[in-house]
């Protein structure tokens, strides 16, 4: 990326790239966002992690000015969300492929550039920069509808960056793409991060949040139920405890009852226990044997975001 894509570096007195204060949004009887507050520092990448329907996209759309909150306030670099200043500062990559399928890659970028007020040499430079960023230079003349899924995703992201925004909203940018394309998208985002771009990244893939984000907000039922670095979230939920994953065989009711007795959780046929120290494993093994259960498989693992989410909500992330 060229230096001209660098986002402005925030001074200590400059307004924050994003401030969300006690935002509420209801759709009929459904409360999609229920009092979320969030602030981003310049150059920070914050992940919104949560299952489908958690309220992530509604929050993103409110930041983009496309949803008007019923209560609370959303500001982008001090400007009210949806205002001209906020729109100019914001680059939104929607979850959908928000492109013109009958236009070529270049024509799409030009169109969105013009909508942001770019023209002439400046527009052509922006198009060239975005094509390079998305590695689509050799596909510039290709009709968008003929691109592969991964290329469309990259173009979708490039269209959000055409006007050199200072805050990027990436709403599940890797949905439906293969591993190779996903890695390419990660590289694009890491390039943005290296330039100091402030980013909000929504996903329900915890490995993406772990890899790309400085802080992670776990969103469920329209609320942020935990916010912090990955390490802080794990520590807050598990401290120094580890997880033991065991596969036990025996009468079905008996296994479940035995796991529940030891404050474990059954997921499919796997039991999960939290232990303060690995030495507690021996007691578990003994207990299983004395209860007439056969231990088929056993492993010890450090808790991750998935574990945190399960711990906080009692549900799997992809439920």
């Amino acid at each position: 990326m060229s230096a001209s894509m660098n986002p402005a570096v925030a001074s200590p007195h400059a307004p924050l790239p994003l401030e969300v204060e006690a935002m509420v949004k209801r759709f009929g009887a459904v409360t999609a966002v229920d009092g979320i507050s969030l602030a981003l520092q310049g150059g920070e990448c914050v992940g919104l992690l949560g299952p489908n329907g958690a309220g992530k996209s509604t929050l993103i759309r409110a930041i983009a000015g496309r949803v008007i909150p019923d209560a609370g306030r959303v500001s982008v670099f001090g400007a009210e969300a949806g205002s001209q200043a906020a729109r100019a500062a914001l680059g939104w990559v929607p979850q959908d492929l928000a492109l013109y399928p009958r236009l070529s890659v270049k024509e799409n970028l030009r169109s969105f550039g013009r909508y942001h007020g770019l023209n002439g040499k400046k527009l052509e430079q922006a198009v060239a920069r975005c094509l390079a960023w998305a590695a689509l230079e050799d596909r510039a003349g290709e009709l968008t509808r003929n691109l592969s899924g991964g290329m469309k995703r990259r173009l979708n992201m490039a269209a959000g960056l055409i006007h050199e925004p200072r805050l990027m909203l990436l709403d599940e940018p890797t949905v439906g793409v293969d591993t190779q394309s996903r890695n390419r998208i990660f590289e694009m985002i890491e390039a943005l991060r290296a330039q100091g771009m402030t980013i909000i990244y929504t996903t329900h893939y915890m490995e993406e949040a772990e890899r790309l984000c400085d802080r992670i907000a776990i969103v469920d039922h329209g609320r942020i139920i935990a916010l912090g670095t990955k390490e802080a979230l794990v520590h807050n939920s598990f401290a120094s405890r580890s997880q033991v994953v065991a596969r036990l065989e025996g009468p079905e009711g008996k296994v479940a009852a035995w796991v529940a007795e030891r404050r474990g959780k059954m997921t499919d046929s796997t039991a999960e226990f939290t232990v303060e120290h690995p030495s507690e494993i021996a007691a578990l093994l003994e207990g299983a044997a004395s209860s007439g259960l056969e231990l088929v498989d056993l492993s010890l693992r450090r808790p991750n975001l998935e574990s945190v989410f399960l711990h906080l909500t009692g549900r799997e992330l992809r439920d």
């Binding site: 759309r61 983009a64 496309r66 929607p94 492929l97 399928p101 942001h116």
Partner: protein
């Protein structure tokens, strides 16, 4: 296995409102329109508007005019329709009647010349009947023939005394002078006829029973509109078909809004500098240009292949083309903003456009339609656009004569676009 398949198909059809509308509503709507136009209901048959100028003011001419006035097939005017708060207008003259035919207010005008009462009918090899002048518009081939026939009928039924007198005159001329007794008998019969005519006049009747025959009134037909045109239907067809397809194109093109809303591109556009006003205005301008280009191509094709006189009507074409394009573009925008999906838009636009085209004159000329349907047609874009293009290409009227059509089309466009803008608020914010 057939029944389960039929059952599944029925369930699917029941939930596919688009197919239901296209399968059942559109055919019934069309059948009703065609039945009303070409059906056998006598009371809905169209009446012919005709202007009659009686320059003679003789007993015979007045009787003839009166007979025409009470004929159920004609709407006869002898004076222009009065304007509100204005003094009653003077009676039509030959000149104002001709102007009215040229302007398309009526298809036919009859001028009963001075001296008609002296020789009202024509008979025999050296016929001397005074000719009634029939002014017509060549685009309507039916009206002059009907009026001509009704004129003969009126003569036969409304002027029994005149007919008898003229018959005696011709009999004497061709058979020889009557004997005094014959003349006495005939005068007695004439007196009886005069008594009957007097009574009928007092009752408001038309006269004696119609006799057989026709052509006893000499009619001199003069085409005052389209006399030099090669095909009276060409300009009508170009405008009629053009406007119908313009409506289809406009609704299809405006449907891009629905595609953009579905793909999320609309959201992305509205999160840029572009707001809903700018977006809709941009779409409207594009659709106007598209419609105008389509019309231009249509008329250029008509010029190149069917020899329509295009290049001497450019100003009128541009004025009517842009007004029509504006109205149809706004119509398309409204449909697109009302509908939730492309499929809905397809069904609704097909239904509305076909009905509008049928009653608005895109499928058959409106003068063929019953009076009520002609009036209903005035609620369509088609009718006003076709009338305007006819004024330009058929009647050779100046641009200033288009004010009424242009005003209505612009008003339609403004209202439809305003409603579309209001409905489009659903896309603005959640």
């Amino acid at each position: 296995m057939i029944i389960p398949i039929v059952r599944t198909a029925l369930l699917a059809l029941r939930r596919d409102r688009v197919s239901l509308v296209l399968s059942f509503v559109v055919p019934i709507a069309f059948f009703s329109i065609f039945a009303a136009v070409f059906g056998s209901q006598r009371d809905t048959m169209p009446k012919i508007k005709v202007i009659v100028v009686d320059q003679d003011q003789s007993r015979a001419s007045r009787q003839l005019v009166k007979a025409l006035q009470i004929d159920g097939s004609l709407i006869v005017s002898t004076t222009p329709a009065p304007t509100k708060n204005q003094p009653a207008p003077p009676e039509f003259t030959a000149e104002t009647a001709e102007a009215a035919v040229k302007a398309g207010d009526v298809s036919v005008a009859l001028i009963v010349p001075r001296g008609f009462g002296d020789h009202p009918i024509s008979f025999g090899p050296d016929a001397t009947g005074t000719a009634i002048e029939l002014l017509n518009d060549a685009s309507d081939t039916i009206a002059p023939q009907m009026v001509s026939g009704l004129l003969q009928k009126a003569a036969m039924t409304a002027m029994p005394v005149t007919m008898a007198e003229q018959g005696m005159k011709y009999s004497e001329k061709y058979l020889g002078t009557f004997t005094p007794e014959q003349r006495r008998n005939m005068n007695a019969n004439l007196d009886q006829l005069r008594q009957i005519e007097k009574r009928q006049n007092a009752d408001g009747g038309t006269g004696a029973a119609a006799g057989p025959g026709g052509g006893i009134i000499v009619v001199k037909t003069r085409t005052v509109v389209g006399e030099n045109k090669n095909n009276p239907m060409l300009s009508f067809e170009a405008a009629a078909i053009g406007v119908m397809f313009l409506l289809f194109t406009a609704s299809g093109s405006a449907g891009a809004l629905l595609d953009e809303a579905e793909s999320g591109a609309l959201d992305r556009v509205l999160s840029s500098r572009v707001n809903m006003n700018g977006l809709l205005a941009g779409k409207l301008v594009f659709n106007i240009l598209l419609a105008f280009t389509q019309l231009t191509l249509m008329f250029l094709w008509a010029w190149a292949v069917f020899k329509i006189d295009f290049f001497s009507h450019i100003p009128g074409f541009v004025v009517m083309g842009l007004s029509t394009a504006f109205a149809v573009a706004a119509f398309g925008m409204l449909l697109a903003s009302i509908c939730r999906t492309r499929a809905q838009l397809g069904a609704l636009s097909t239904l509305l456009i076909l009905v509008m085209s049928a009653i608005g004159g895109s499928m058959f000329p409106r003068f063929l339609m019953p009076e009520a349907m002609q009036k209903a047609g005035l609620w369509t874009i088609n009718a006003w656009a076709i009338d305007g293009f006819e004024k330009v290409f058929w009647r050779d009227l100046p641009v200033t004569a288009l004010w009424q059509q242009v005003s209505v089309l612009l008003a339609i466009g403004i209202v439809l676009f305003a409603v579309a803008r209001r409905v489009a608020r659903r896309w603005e914010y959640a």
